[in-house]
């Protein structure tokens, strides 16, 4: 699958995680933009219209749950697939009370890079098929 046309937005407050993910995904041929907090994540999602978003949950100010809720409630951003990458295990319960579509994939830290790439490939293929059929 050609990766060079795909853009991924990485949202995480931990600079080392952002460096790690950005470097890895760029090595895999993606264009990467990043944000280190929720408001910047939302702003970059609107400005950059990425093909996929990776999202941390525990962030200062606005949590990843609030970010995901805003993304899902925005008709323009709603279709963008989201992979949550977090050390928190209980966030799914919190999401169910907000009535929003859960993330397309959920991964625990520390990351399994093979699994991450598999999730990204599958989600991008699914998005491409959906766009073709619409």
């Amino acid at each position: 699958m050609s990766n060079t046309r795909h853009k991924i937005l990485v949202v995480d407050d931990e600079p080392d995680v952002v460096s790690y993910l950005t470097t890895f995904l760029e090595d895999e041929g993606f264009t990467v933009v990043s944000a280190q907090d929720g408001p910047d994540g939302i702003a970059k999602a609107r400005a950059e219209r990425p093909d996929l978003i990776t999202l941390d949950i525990t962030m200062p100010g606005m949590s990843g749950i609030e970010v995901l809720t805003i993304l899902r409630r925005d008709p323009e951003l709603n279709p963008i697939p989201v992979i949550v990458i977090t050390g928190v295990t209980s966030f799914k319960k919190q999401l169910s009370f907000r009535g929003v579509r859960p993330p397309e994939a959920f991964m625990q830290k520390p990351m399994d890079l093979e699994l991450l790439m598999s999730n990204i490939d599958n989600l991008l293929k699914h998005s491409a098929l959906k766009a073709t059929n619409e």
């Binding site: 995680v17 890895f24 525990t58 050390g87 830290k109």
Partner: protein, 257 residues
């Protein structure tokens, strides 16, 4: 459910929360180390020295953070008697400054250290740990709050008659009332400012074990928070050498408070 059962349940719940918080923090730190290893390996393959250097820095930084977390955990669980010795104040502050220098630089917060000459009686390792933990919390809070363009944390000491007064001024962070009530509790997991909260719980316990006190004073109009630790220059009389309680028992008592 009677009161004692409720207390026991609260205690068990707090400990579960604490273990959960530690696990979450360690996952983040392991991610940092893995990231560093990835950068080093890929940098070597691509002959990119800058990436290799960045990777090594990441590994070192996260190993240091894991060391601090493990130290805090060990203090909590280990039976440890205090080793009361004469501690040189200037040397102590220099050592704390060295430990935190890289962290401060990484967070973009200026770290300033000034200390009076003199000595006081304390467990050197414990006092070093509690100062480093409070200062680290201040550094990370200033970095996260982003209320000032040039945040700074200043550590200072002065001798006030028979007391040693240590002040850690976070210039660029104002602690909220709600946070003040929670920040020294073992299960507290502040959003964003994480990874040092266990250290604050242990820090307060260690201050108490030295017969000292800790006050926190926010100044919203100045954008600062002052952490003030007061300890006697001499080992307090009621903390006798042959006291029955060891460190763990006193921290347990602190937990139950």
């Amino acid at each position: 459910m009677d009161d004692s059962q409720k207390q026991l349940l609260d205690l068990l719940t707090s400990k579960d929360e604490l273990v959960g918080s530690i696990a979450h923090d360690l996952k983040g730190l392991l991610s940092g180390i893995e990231g560093g290893v990835y950068l080093v390996n890929s940098g070597l393959k691509k002959d990119n020295q800058s990436r290799v250097d960045q990777g090594f820095d990441m590994v070192k930084r996260n190993v240091d953070r894991i060391r601090k977390t493990v130290s805090s955990i060990l203090y909590y669980v280990k039976k440890r008697e205090f080793d009361w010795i004469e501690v040189e104040i200037t040397a102590l502050f220099e050592s704390v400054g060295k430990v935190l220098a890289d962290r401060a630089a990484h967070l973009g917060v200026d770290l300033r250290i000034t200390a009076d000459d003199g000595v006081f009686e304390a467990d050197e390792f414990a006092v070093h740990s509690l100062l480093a933990n409070i200062a680290d919390y201040a550094l990370e809070s200033c970095h996260t709050a982003k209320i000032k363009p040039s945040p700074a944390v200043a550590l200072s000491s002065k001798i006030d008659q028979t007391d040693l007064v240590i002040e850690i001024l976070a210039d660029g962070f104002v602690i909220e009332d709600e946070t003040q009530k929670l920040v020294f509790e073992p299960g507290y997991a502040p959003r964003g400012v994480d990874r040092s909260h266990l250290g604050l719980f242990v820090a307060r316990g260690l201050i108490d074990l030295h017969g000292g006190s800790l006050t926190i004073t926010p100044s919203p109009e100045r954008g600062t928070t002052l952490f003030r630790v007061v300890m006697s220059l001499s080992k307090p009389f009621d903390l006798a050498d042959d006291a029955d309680e060891n460190t763990e028992d006193m921290l347990e008592r602190e937990w139950d408070r």
